[in-house]
Amino acid sequence: MTDATLPQHPFGTEITANDIVEQMQAANGWEDRYRTVIQLGKKLPALPETFKHEELKVSGCESQVWLAHDKQDGQFHFMADSDSRIVRGLITLVLAAYEGKNAEEIRAFDIDTYFEQLGLIAHLSPSRGNGLKAIVEQIKTLAN
């Protein structure tokens, strides 16, 4: 990891996975769902340029995606960024699910059901170019 500290974000603390499920279930149709996702992405601070290097790049995405993490007392702190607005939004959903959890909790979290509840399960398909699947896999690898 690099020496710089990761920026703080509200996902998993101020905005929990449950909050997001509620918000997404209230959304009416695809437009509203995407609007919500994009709005959430706007609450994600930018990852400082020092973190945007090859090692932290998630491969398998059409857009560029970087995933950084920190581990303190067994708890993971994640931060990610992308040059795609939709992917930034999707990242916040993933961060809300995994932020502050320990390895065991990360392994136990049922991400498929979570994305099903969000109405976005199609986005977890490996044939999608958004790389969401790759981000989730990378987080799970870190927790192993």
């Binding site: 995407y34 795609s84 939709i86 958004n130």
Partner: protein, 406 residues
Amino acid sequence: MTAQFDINQVYQQFPALQQNCNGQPLVYLDSAATAQKPLAVIETIQQYYSGHNANVHRGSHSLTASATAKFEQARQTVQQFIHAQHSCEIIWTRGATEALNLIAQTYARQTLQPGDEILVSELEHHANIVPWQIVAEQTGANVVKIPMLPDCTLDMDAFHQLLTNKTKIVAIAHITNVTGTRNPIEAITTAAHHYNAVVVVDGAQGIVHETVDVQTLDADFYVFSGHKLYAPAGIGVLYGKKALLEVMPPWHGGGKMVEKVSFSGTTFSALPGKFEAGTPNVAGSLALATAIEWLESLDRHGAEQHIAQLRQKAIEGISEIDDLRIIGLQEHASLFSFVVDGVHHQDIATLLDQQGIALRAGHHCAHPMLDALGLTGTLRVSLALYNTEQDVERFIAALHKACSLL
């Protein structure tokens, strides 16, 4: 005399277009990647496997004789379609990519010497770059880039300067896949032949939108895929001038490409069999011939005018979107690429897909060209003769909506 182009009549012949995508009628604007297939083509495949399937050029029963006759008729259909002098100049391949690899691994590999040069345009897609890089590595030849100009046309001054006695091959797209640039093939072959270089024309896009005459173009090789020409995937064509094909060594070894096999030595078949080892894709060949006959039964000029009108309408309809830039707009192209500055192309594609609009977003397998443009990707709208005015209206509205959401 062919009847005037009638979009309603044409549209009805494409079952794949009559479906919903994400709850809305599909608008298919990705025909430069692969075209949908008319009923006539689908029926040819079904009929072949229902009643005519037999291996060709072997055995001595009626079914094989009939399959062989149809297979060779299909070759003649292609010959006439591209105005080749001889039907043995038509070699069946899996597609344009395989045809380019065949040329690289036979003609080029046998001919090239260390220090020889292969001129490859910067506008090419990977299929017309990588086979040349591989054979350059094998022979010690060099791949030299012909640069493009900022308007996405070939830099012809640079081309003329790069042509020397070291130039052995010029590899160039007839029409390019990112911007639809029509390269001046006639001028290129004339200049290249002055230096005794052969010209390989990648016709993957060009065959669809132009009446091709390989003799007028004076192309030494011309390749294309069936699947962009309303035929199935897995069939394609390598055209080569007979004199060149005759002296080229075979590529794949196997049945059908041999005259006599013995462990002391093997002799090879004459053209075209020499390059067609193994059981060919007979259904594909027949279906390609059907696609050609179907296309020729239409008013092709009217079809291209129809496409041009749709393209104009699409461009006008999106031109006022903030920060939208059309990349290298070509006057007579059936496709165009665009970007919206500050917005990732994938985001727009995702939101268009939600609205039933299918188009291509990304690098279009043309990394060098996009690098030259300083882009990581574009959105590409590619039109075919089955697209309707309504398709374009839906696309315009959907793009406005996508941009407002982002």
